[in-house]
Each structure stands twice: as structure tokens, then as C-alpha cells.
Amino acid sequence: MEKHEGFMKALKCRECGREYPLAATHVCEFDFGPLEVAYDYDRIKKSLTRAAIEKRPQTMWRYRELLPIAGEPTVGFQVGFTPLVKADRLAKRLGIRELWIKNDTVNYPTLSFKDRVVSVALSRARELGFKVVACASTGNLANSVAANAAAAGLKSFVFIPSDLEQGKVINSLVYGANVIGIKGHYDEVNRLCAEIAGKFGWAFVNVNMRPYYAEGSKSMGFEIVEQLGWRAPQHTVVPMASGSLLTKIHKSYQEFMKLGIIPESRYHVHGAQATGCSPISVAQKAGLDFFKPVKPNTIAKSLAIGTPADGFYALKVMKETGAVAEDVSDDELREGIKLLAEYEGIFAETAGGVTVGVAKKLIASGRIPADDSVVLCITGNGLKTLDAVVGHTGRAREIKPSLREFEALINAEGELSAAI
């Protein structure tokens, strides 16, 4: 009898289309193209409708037919369905008719969109019989793997460059993860991680589990569509590191259209990078369909991937959807963080600053027309990258415990007296 694989059909090479069994494997043996999950859309169509979705719990799993697990999820039941905030104050400031913030700064449990991909990867890892999970990460992914593995009773290994900041390491260690710091140049560390992933029989979430893992990002797009009242936004601005999230947002809109859950409409999925690490954005602006590797130099560490694995596919999506990429300097991304905080009360990490900064540029230059509607994907929490804004915010005024001193301060500073 055939094994029950839910709504999945096979793993399929993105280059040559060859099909592979639904195992923990990620590269085509023939041309080394990345493998992607293929689904049985005819069967999905019969069970996934708006009405069915609306009856389910408000988590990312309400779209489970389009997520790559065979049975029910066993890791990360509570992940997703983060707020979609109508950002009227920021819209006015940026000069756009309609603006929405998809707020994954409050994603459960580790405050970034990575909980979406990790809960899918770990649920699938369990189905495939793995007891140990692993990843190589400098931040959000490590935290998410450590936390979700702990909650699910899985053992975890987290590989990091040895010079990583203490705070980021603690955020993984606290969950009892085995954290391994590797000394050496980034490229060397990166290659060693690939070797380790190949050698040990673990579920390495972003290596042998990558086809499943990456699909988790689609849930962000599904939620945007549902929360907008079942429509795809005209413009979505997405931060890019590897470029995977951008391609999966596009795929989520495509799948909902293909299944008839939303009508066909034209939409643009724009990409955002930091200028100090902008291989995809530079290629897009030059009209190239490939990127050139760069050495990252930006405070937006969560987007600092100089050789992005999905860069080629991200460029293709932008071309197909008539979208553009743009990048912003460290100062501009700090301004983006502050705009989002001061106008909407949302404190995002550097990636969010990049997204807001790029949206501002695209609106100001008319590449996003002022009359259109935009969704910004804000993917991580500002408390994780406090260093980025230290010294760039206002400062606290100090006084002695004396009412007279407070009154003197108010009178001295026009801004304070205006606030009364």
C-alpha cells in the first residue's frame, strides 16, 4: 500500500522537473537544482475553501493542506496568524493611500517569521522519524529551532560563527540547545556546516529539510490575503536575505488563485535589501537575471547573506510580477525602524527598518503609485537588535527628585511644554 503523504505528491527539481520521494533530501542528483514540494491541487481544491479555513483555529495551520506535512502538525501549534495592522498614520507620512503592516514581530514563540518555517520543518522531521534537529544560524533561526525543539522534546544542535554576540547566543542556550561556535572565515564555516549536515543523520532544517522548511513562509502570504478580506495586495514589500521568503509570498498568492480561493488579480512582490549587502537588489536594478556574490557590510545582520541561495528565483519572481528591488543605507534603515515605531507603535529589528526604508523610496519615486495599496512584511522584533538603534534615539532627561527641577525642565524645553 502507498504511504499516506497528505496532500503532497513528490519533491520536484526546480531546474529539470525530475521527481523524488518525499524524504529528507534537497538537491537533484542530476543537475543539483533545489527540490520543491509538489502538491495534489485537485484534492486540495475539494477540502480547502474559504469557509473551511474560517472555521479553523487562528494559526498558520489553518492552511494545512498547502503546508508540507502528511498528518497533523506536532510542533508549533500556536505559530502564525499575526496581526495585519492598517497603518494609516504611517501611510500619510509616506504619502500612500493604503498601507498595511504584516506584524511578525509578535510571531509565537520567538518573535520572528522564522517560527513559521521552523514549525513546518520540525513537524515534518518528526514524521520522518528524526530525533535530533539542527541548523546553522546567526540569530532568528537558531532561536526558533532551539525554542520549538525544546517545546517538542527534540534534541537540537545550533551551529554559529564563534564571534557571534553574547546576547544572540544566550537566546539559543537558554532553551538547552547544544550550541557549537565555529572559528574561521564565514565561507569556511558555511562549508563546514554543509559537510556536517551531510554527514550526520539529523534533520538539518535549512539543509536536508529545506524543501519543507521553506514552504512554511507561504503561511505569511495566505494570512495577508485572508486578513485583507480575501484579496491579494497590489504591492507587497518583502525583505530579502536568501530571497526565499519573497518567492514563497508569490507562491502563496499563486496557489490561492489557482485553487479559486481568490480571483486572479495583478500584484507586485517587491524586494528589499540593505545597501551593504544587496546582491539581489543590485542585479534587479541592472536588469540581470543572476547576481554577483558580495561581502556583507551592514548593521542589518539578519539580511546579510552575500551569496543568496534563492537569489536567482527571487529575481525571476520580481520580473514576473512587474516588481522592483531597492536597497537602503544603514542610516535609512534606522530611520525606517523609527518611523514604524513612532507612527505605528511597532518596534521592528533591522530587517523591518530595511522594508520600511525601501517602501518609502519606492513610494517617493512613484514606483509604488500613491493611489495604490501596499503590505509591508515586518519579519522580526526590535528587541533582538537593540544595538542597531542605541545612540540614535532621543535620550532620557534626568532630574533630581524635585518638582521645581521638573518644572524648570518643562519650561526650558519647548518640545516638552508643547506636550502638556
Binding site: 540569530g139 554543509a194 559537510e195 543572476f290
Partner: protein, 100 residues
């Protein structure tokens, strides 16, 4: 497992030393100034590794080659170091394994 060697065709030297041969899959990306140089040929002669090009695209902007190397681990590591010194970007087949 993705990286488990399939058919290992150990390079001659590696077999003689009794060292364990391994297979490594890499993406090489090289700048325009290196495009005219027969890098893969040189690599096969300098080091005890067998090379197998699985995919390639060369334009006058960039050379991108997907390469399978078979040989002893130390030889493969030396070959990678040589490539990097030439200015070639050497990534594992997964490209960026480290994520944020």
C-alpha cells in the same frame, strides 16, 4: 542523506594512501577576469581530485559552475583554498547554509 557519497570514484593518490575518499559538491562563481582561464583543468592537474562539471553558465559578467569533486578530504580542502586564493567564490551546493 544528500551528501552521502553515491558511487565513489577515488582519485588515484587518495586510494594509495588508504585515506577515505569523499565527494564534495560545490558552486564556483568567478569574476570576468578569470573567465578565460581553464581553472577546472588546472585544478584537476594540481590536486589529486577528479572533477565533474554538472552545470555551468559562463557570460562575460560571471562564470557559474556546479562542480563535483572526488578525492581525499585534504586534497579537496587544498583545492578549495587554491580556488579562493585565485578569487573564486566557493560555496557548498546548498549555497548559504548559515542563515540569520
Amino acid at each position: 542523506m544528500a551528501h552521502a557519497p553515491k558511487k565513489t570514484k577515488p582519485a588515484a593518490k587518495a586510494a594509495k594512501n588508504g585515506a577515505r575518499p569523499q565527494q564534495t559538491r560545490l558552486w564556483l562563481m568567478y569574476p570576468p577576469k578569470l573567465i578565460t582561464r581553464p581553472i577546472i583543468w588546472e585544478l584537476g592537474h594540481k590536486f589529486a581530485v577528479s572533477t565533474n562539471v554538472r552545470q555551468a553558465s559562463v557570460t562575460d559578467e560571471i562564470g557559474i559552475v556546479c562542480l563535483e569533486l572526488d578525492g581525499e578530504r585534504e586534497q579537496i580542502k587544498a583545492a578549495i583554498a587554491w580556488l579562493e586564493k585565485l578569487g573564486v567564490n566557493v560555496e557548498p551546493v546548498e549555497i548559504n547554509v548559515i542563515e540569520s
